[in-house]
Every structure is written in structure tokens, then in C-alpha cells.
Chain length 255, copies 4
């Protein structure tokens, strides 16, 4: 079970709501993924403007926890402002701190992310910062009191998967709060690998919404995350340089 | 559906029967994996000696197709002899040609593998050769009339996963017979990746039998192979060097 | 030519002085490497205590620029104190800010590194911070006015080489100050790759001092860094998925 | 020193002569590379037709050993025919067996390569087959009596570098004849890595001729191969998962 602050979830897949080809596909993908946490950009949603149609109307939002993000913010102050706007809707207490420090790579700004996390924690939010895979930065965010950390596997939307599994593993090993791998996952095997490293969850958007068949990919990702988690729990064999016969030369149980 | 010669299978996981801690674990792992094809070494099994107890007695072998392998053979002639022994049991027409050319790496001998495959095809076997990831060698094996090819991901039992995905992808692209990735798979993400590359199946043994919890790992692998296959069918996003926001700046479907 | 603040160097190799098997080997390795910048830990050197013998006496320090580091410091204040001690010797104005935030991985603390860099710049030091490969953190350090940045390729002494070449490339692309790849380089090919990515220099220690033949490895590294730099300037061919014959089928210049 | 059959060479770089922008650049690149072995396609050269101008006239061919290849051959017989044509010129006894089995990947045909090598050895050639990185195939070629083996790092002209260093290392470990890494090298770091793995030499063409500045790249490659070889001889540090301080906390030689 994934626990974030006071909340508990069966599913370890967090799904973004952006860039689906149409509402119907989005709805089916969300349902088939079995996600319980939907993420979206506060700035780009009409969710908090009652006179506007919006995509979340299509979904039964009582079934989902909402995790709005502060995308578009460049400073801690802007992020806090966005978070307050989200909370004012009465729909969510969680906030994903997303403060981009480089428009080309969409990589996060560590200084503003730290500041925003601190400010939001003081205001009582459940804070999940999107961060680079900097190991000590992750530790700093945990020390502030963040409820989870969300290191990127590779740049947002790049589909490059986990470039540095070592950093990710270390972030996971050192922390006692959930680690949710965010950004860069491109395929089911990427998602499975994140879970095998010991991640508590995976956040996806483009990998599903941008697939040729988003609904089928949503199912694939659901299974991959379950597979990776089970693989982590089951304890994989060590990697060896040389070969080992799967059929023993002696012993009772042969094959 | 996986089709090998005249046979059809729902499951794309082929499971080896060697090196489990005990019969009970083996039996549960086999059942939970939902495999339909069991592989084993003819030379190391008592299956064909009726007065000996053997592990396949524990399993309902009518539920499974048996894929004996010729492990232990160093020449085509030895492999053929082993295959005939297996067929004489009346239990199987499939044979996995496994002729090791290097004891340290357990990598296959291309010359003897080609010769054995040719000889076995003439004798009417359903022939699945274990081969390196040499692209043209795979083509040659297909030209002989082999019913599937089984390129290794990395050395047997090494758990290193897919070292050269490019060769694997090319073998898959060029062939019209099933490609079953054999040897070296260590984790669910490895298995998922093989399937995402377009493999028709994955053969596992040590990754399951050598896991701390083989039964749980069997379930993980089952899900991973399904996830990878679905991911392949769903059409993954391309890998990009630079980032792409998952939230568009314009357009109706925002998130 | 490598320019750091007001200083210019022909060599792009910065060499650490720790952990050589003996003084003679250290001296020869330093000479053969053709380095012009020697790094060392202020805390662990007797260089600034005149009544103690020390390794730099063995070298003609007028030939070298000294780059002391603040290893051992856990806070900005401690780093500043160490830097002042180094400068008080009158031998150096450069300081490598090294503030470790995790004893297991020896990865740097971004917050204290930023603080220390700011304080040291105010005191007029030539400041070269050791940092993770966080792209936006590197940008922040440049904005402070640092004279170079020293991202790690992988953990100190691990010999794992460049785990994330993408981050390194982005740090290099975005910056107008020298980028010196520090930590984790294990082999000449690692050093060459750093330079091919566009790095301005490479700092080595364990890869040379820990080699079986440190003097020979020093020569290897010197050549590798020159090779990588020339390769960067020469403009490498693009990577292609498919093959391209080196012999054209038409055209005047055939081969 | 690199020894191939009865021949000895100071340089470990073998350079292809195809696809340079002009004769002058080709000539300079060859000279600056310090290569002693030039390779070229017999079929695409006019070298053996006296009334035609050809590129080797521009070079002092007495300074170089010539290594013609059989590119264009699809069968052993065609390769033998090409090799005889080359030898009839009186300029060379070495032949690189190059029999492509796949036009898209330009990967070699193991069956025809084995056959051609055997036939050419019987005719007294010094035989260097271009092969995949199949470990047992390389062993087979050595057993035939080949004078060197030339496994590809990745597809010809792809610049992808060494995809499977493990196979390459095993080919090198098992053999007592020279291993020359051929095809796929894109950058100086790739060439250095091949040498660090223990290769006896590297054959390059596109990586030099296709660089923006081929002459500068030729120098870079020369240095990289020297660096890699020295690194191999010097004995690199092991790769470690965790960090190791370069500055010891105790001991006489500190830094």
C-alpha cells in the first residue's frame, strides 16, 4: 500500500491528465490504469472556474485523489500562489511542487523548490516536490518535512527512462518517505525498473497519453508497475559477469 | 497468441524447471506463472526412466507442452541423440537445440547449432535453436526452416538482461518465425523490455528459481511479459533528447 | 587553453595528490601527466604547518597552481574557514568547494555548496564548487559568479565513469564558465568522453593514484584528455541506428 | 607492438581510405594518424588497373601495409576471387574477409565468412575476418588458423561505439591471435575503450573521414588508441558501487 501523509492507496501509479487525443480516450485510460491519484496543472485547468467545462467533470472525481501541480511557476512565491488556488477549490490538500529552472530541459530549480516546499509545509499542505535525482537535495527535502519526493528519471516527456538508476536507488535507500519516480518514463519496462529499484510509485503522463493506443498503454503500465513491485519484493538474482547453468550438475531438484 | 509450428499458446512465458529450492516451490511457481511450456534438460532428468522419481510427476504434464533441451551436447550428433531420446518418451516433438561452445560463458556454438538444427528438421522435429544475438546467424537458422529462434539476452544465469537491444530488434524485424528471448533475463523489467522490442516470448529459469521468493517472482514475470507485450502493441512514445511538457500551452484537452 | 578566472593553463588535466603508493610515484605521475593544477585536501595536508614534512615539498610548487579543497567541511562556515586557512599560506587564491552531504555516496550538499560559494566569492576567492550533475544547480552556481563548476561524473573514487552524459552535456551547453568534470572517472575512455561532451577539463585522483601503474596511467590520462578535446573540436560523426558503408558506391574519392 | 602473422607494427590504428572529402585531406589524415596499415575495398578501387588514377598513388605505399577487403562479396567464392585479384597486384598478402549478410545492418555472414577464411588460409593468405561479436564464432575462426579477428563494435558507419563490451572482452580473453575492433567506432573515447578492454588494435574509417575535420580527428584517434593501450597496461581501478574518498583519513601519503 502506498501511503502519502494521511492518505493510503492500493495503486502505485499516479496518472497525469494532459495531452490525450480526446476526453473519451482519457477517461478510459484513467479507468483502465486503476490509478487512484490524478495529476494536472492548476494553471492550465478550468477545474476551479465553475462556469467553464473541464475534463475532470468527465471523471468521477470522488473516486480519485487529486494531485494538482504548480507547473508554470518560476519562483516559490508563484508556486505557493498556485497551490493556494488549488486548495481553495476544496478538492485537494496535496500539491506537487513543480518549479522549472530551464525551459529546454524542463528540469527543476532546486533552490526555489526547497523554498516553496518549506512555505507550503508551513501552510499545512501535503507536499510532493518534483526534483532532480540529486541525492542530497532529496535528503534536504525530506528533512523539511515533505510527504514524498518525486525525482525525475529523465527530462519530462523525453521517454528516455531511468538514466541514472544509481542515484535513484540511493534516494530510495536513504529516505523513509515515499519516492515516486516522476518524468521521463517511456515504456512499461522503464516503469517496472523504477519499482524494482524500490520506488513507492511512478507518475506517468506522456508515456500513456502520447502512445498510439493510450488505453492499452494504460493497462500495460498498470501491469508493469505491479510486476516491478512484486519483483522488488521477490528479491531478484544478482547480476553476474559469467554464466551459471540453470541446470545443476548435481542435487535432487534438477531440470 | 504465440504459435510455434502447429502449436498455439496463450502465454508467452516459457519456464525452465531447474534449480528450485524444492518441489513444492517449483510447482507453485509453474502454476502461478501461467506458463504453458516447460523446458528442462533431457540429460539431467529422469523423466524418461520410468523407475525413477522425477519432478514432472509433480506437475500435471497434460497441461503443459514440454520443450526439452539438449544441454550437455557439444556436437550436432550429441544433440540429435539427445533429441531422439526425448522424443522416444512420446511426450514431446519440440526440441530446444542447446550446444554450448564455451564453458565459461555458456555461449552457443553457431556451427554445431546450424548443423544440429538441419539434422533435426530433417527428422521432423519442431526445432527451436538457442543462439547468440548474431543477426545473420538468426537469418540462417530461419532459412533452414527452424520453427522459432531463441537468441540470448546475455549469458545464461547471469541476470544481466538485454545487453544489445539493437541486435535483438533486428533479429525480430527480419524474421517471420517467433523470436523467444532466452538466457540472461534477470528481472521483470528485462522481460518487459524483450517484449517491447517485439519478441514473441521469453524463456526464464534462474530469474525465477533463483529469486528469494520464486513464486512471487513467477507472478511478477507473468505480469511483466503481459505488460511488455501490451506496450509493444500500444506503440510507445519516441525517445527525445529534450523535454516536452505533458501539459500543452494551448488546445482543448488540457491537463 | 583552459582559463579559470585570471589564470590560464595549457593542460586540461587537474590532478589530485592523494593516496599514491609513495612519494616517488606521486612525483613521477604528476610530472608525466603534464598537469598544471594540483588539488589536495587542506585538512589532511601539513602544507600550511611549516614544521611538518609534506608531499608538496617534493614537487616544485612554483610550476603548479594549487587548488586546495575543503573536504571534511559539512557546512558553508566550515568550508569558508578551511579556504581562509589555505589562502593564509600565500600559495593559492583558488578554492574547490567540497561539502559532502552523504558519507556513503560522498555526494555534495547543494544548499551548503551554494552558501559557501557565495561567501567565498564575497571574500575574493577564485571559486570552483564540486557539485552534482543537477543542471539548474549548476546554473545557479554560475549566476553567483563562480569561476568554474565541477560536476561529478559518478561518486568519488567509484570509477564508474559518466553515468549521465545528458546532464553533463546540458551543463556544458548552458554555461559560459569552464566545466571541469570531477569525480568518478575511472579510465582514459571516461576522461576522453568527458572532453568530447565539451568539458573544459577533467579532475582525476584515484583513477591515477589507484592504478596498478600510476605513472603509466598518468600518461594515458594526459593523452586521453588531449584526444577527447581534439575529438570535440574535430566534430564527431552522428550516431545512426543503421549501418552506412564506409566505401561509397559512387563518387570520386573511393576506398 | 602489433603482430599479424609475420608482420609487425608500431601503430595499433588501422585506417580505412574511403569517403574523405578530397585527396589532400585523406593524405593528411593518413599521415597524422601514424597508421601503418591502410584498408580499402578491392572492388571500388582502381589500384589494380594501371591506366586509372587512384588514391593510393597519392600516398607513398611503401610506407604502409595494405589490407584490402572483400566488401561487395556475398559468398565465400566471391570473396576468394576478390582476394586473388588483390594479391595479383603484388602489393599485399593480407586480406580482410568482409562478407555482408544483411544490407540494412551490414552485419557479416558467419557461414560464408568461415568458409572464405578456410579457403583463403589454404591459399596462403594472411587472413583477417570481419565478424560479429559472437564469442564462439571468433573461437572457430581462430581454430581455422586466422591471423587476427576483427569483431564489430556496432554496425559499420553507425558511430554507436561498443554496444556489447562483455562479448568483446571475452573474445579478447579467449584468443591468442590479435583482436582488432572493426566497425562502429565513432569517437576517440570509443577507440580508447576498445583498447582498454584489451584489443590489439582498432580499425577506423567513417569516424575519421566523416568528421568535420578529418585530419584533427585522425590525431585524436591516434592519441586515444595510445591512451587506451596505456590504460590497459597500467591496470585501471575497479568499478565500485559506493564512493571512496581520494583523501585517506590516515596514512603517510595524504592529499
Amino acid at each position: 500500500m502506498l501511503k502519502i501523509g494521511p492518505l493510503s492507496f492500493q495503486s502505485r501509479l499516479l496518472l497525469g491528465t494532459g495531452k490525450y487525443p480526446d476526453f473519451s480516450t482519457q477517461k478510459q485510460a484513467v479507468e483502465q490504469s486503476a490509478t487512484e491519484i490524478l495529476t494536472f496543472s492548476v494553471r492550465r485547468m478550468n477545474i476551479f472556474e465553475k462556469n467553464q467545462p473541464n475534463l475532470l467533470e468527465e471523471l468521477n472525481t470522488e473516486k480519485y485523489s487529486l494531485l494538482p501541480n504548480t507547473a508554470g511557476a518560476k519562483t516559490a512565491e508563484e508556486a505557493v500562489q498556485t497551490a493556494r488556488l488549488a486548495r481553495s477549490s476544496g478538492l485537494c490538500d496535496m500539491i506537487k511542487v513543480e518549479i522549472i529552472g530551464c525551459q529546454k530541459t524542463l528540469l527543476p530549480d532546486p533552490v526555489e523548490t526547497l523554498r516553496a516546499s518549506e512555505m507550503l509545509l508551513e501552510e499545512g499542505f501535503i507536499v510532493l516536490p518534483y526534483t532532480s535525482d540529486d541525492v542530497v537535495l532529496a535528503r534536504r527535502l525530506e528533512e523539511l518535512g515533505c510527504h514524498a519526493i518525486m525525482p525525475g528519471a529523465s527530462p519530462i516527456g523525453s521517454g528516455q527512462g531511468i538514466i541514472n538508476p544509481l542515484n535513484l536507488q540511493w534516494i530510495i535507500e536513504q529516505t523513509s518517505i515515499p519516492v515516486i519516480v516522476d518524468a521521463g518514463i517511456g515504456s512499461p519496462s522503464d516503469a517496472a525498473l523504477a519499482m524494482e529499484l524500490g520506488a513507492d510509485g511512478v507518475l506517468l503522463n506522456t508515456a500513456v497519453s502520447g502512445a498510439k493506443d493510450p488505453v492499452k498503454m494504460a493497462i500495460a503500465m498498470k501491469k508493469a508497475i505491479e510486476a516491478g513491485r512484486l519483483g522488488y519484493e521477490a528479491g531478484r538474482i544478482p547480476k553476474k559477469t559469467y554464466a551459471t547453468p540453470s541446470s545443476p550438475t548435481e542435487g535432487l531438484i534438477s531440470g
